[in-house]
Symmetry: C2
Subunit: 226 residues, 2 copies
Amino acid sequence: MATDQKPLVVLAGPIHPAGTELLKTEARVVISEDLSEDGMVAAARDAEAILFRIKPPCTERLMASCPKLKVVGRYGVGLDTVDLPAATRLGIAVVHAPGSNSDSVAEHAIMLMLCAIKHLIPMDRATRKGEWRGQRLRGIGELRGLTLGIIGVGNIGRRVAHLARGFGMRVLGYDPYVPPDELRRREAEPMSGLSTLLSQADIVTCHTPLTDETLHMINDKTIAQM
Amino acid sequence: MATDQKPLVVLAGPIHPAGTELLKTEARVVISEDLSEDGMVAAARDAEAILFRIKPPCTERLMASCPKLKVVGRYGVGLDTVDLPAATRLGIAVVHAPGSNSDSVAEHAIMLMLCAIKHLIPMDRATRKGEWRGQRLRGIGELRGLTLGIIGVGNIGRRVAHLARGFGMRVLGYDPYVPPDELRRREAEPMSGLSTLLSQADIVTCHTPLTDETLHMINDKTIAQM
């Protein structure tokens, strides 16, 4: 094998063609369509980098099976699919793309709030069936004037706060990693605890990473506080 | 019949109970469940006022059949269901509630834009069927960065403009009844004509009353200009 060859980058599933083209200027790029762990091990044996979307999970076994592996990338933000302690032990860098999907996710969260308060899905279904009874309009509301509780006011949460303020919502924020002054700059009233937020909010939206700390944070007890 | 009796107000279908209670402090209130024209004529023969939701249309015959009728109200904004020239001839005042539903309609318009660009209905249907193929994410976009064309920048249109600006959209406005400076105050770039707006906008939203001037304003020719 020639020593001046470009490094091998394996993609776990296709990404946007523009991204692939950019990578090709610096690397040999192989797109693996087999998203099982064994499939990735086979495809990435000589890889110096692997880029993951969601599947497969980036396990210790997978990384250890690729002796040349230097860096693991996530095409997105969350790192819950990557075994970070194992990557640290193996000396493999892990990179992701914070902020890359913040606008999309924030818009999505607002869409879900609008759809819930305006009964979009049942209304769409009734309309397609030709059901036009007046009853169907009962209980439909607006976001204006409601109180939104944002749990996790990072790249995504702050954008949700900005959009929600535009709708005339009161916005509360709870994030133990963001100081109160910064929460205010992010357009959210600082809440000292999750319970305080839950008891005041009409709508709650979560924008935290999935970690041991946040897993099952919303459960029967926290729901009962709403 | 006692001359000191409160005036009779007939409602074409029920309204919010709080509204009915308020009316009852000043009037005898009858709610007609029969929303045919003949039903309304029968119920409103002695009425001094009729409050319409959507049905029946407030025709000349209906108004002429109610000799005591002084005022017709619309529980909403649009007056297209009321024969205004006939009301004028008969000396009957027509009132409506401009602004009353502006927030709701503006929120609804933004919801429809979000649902269209994010394929909400097909995605919901696929998810309920358990279809999780990657293909389903193809072609999903965001509002940020798109250009919105608002036709009719009145009570509703200006609120749509404000919300859209919050999403980071460019907002164009066309309204021959609103001067350019006022359009700018309403957060829309003034467009001199409908064609100019249509050729530049990624999304077009109409917030005009239904009149002879606006009927079929969006047609095969205007759609072809988008």
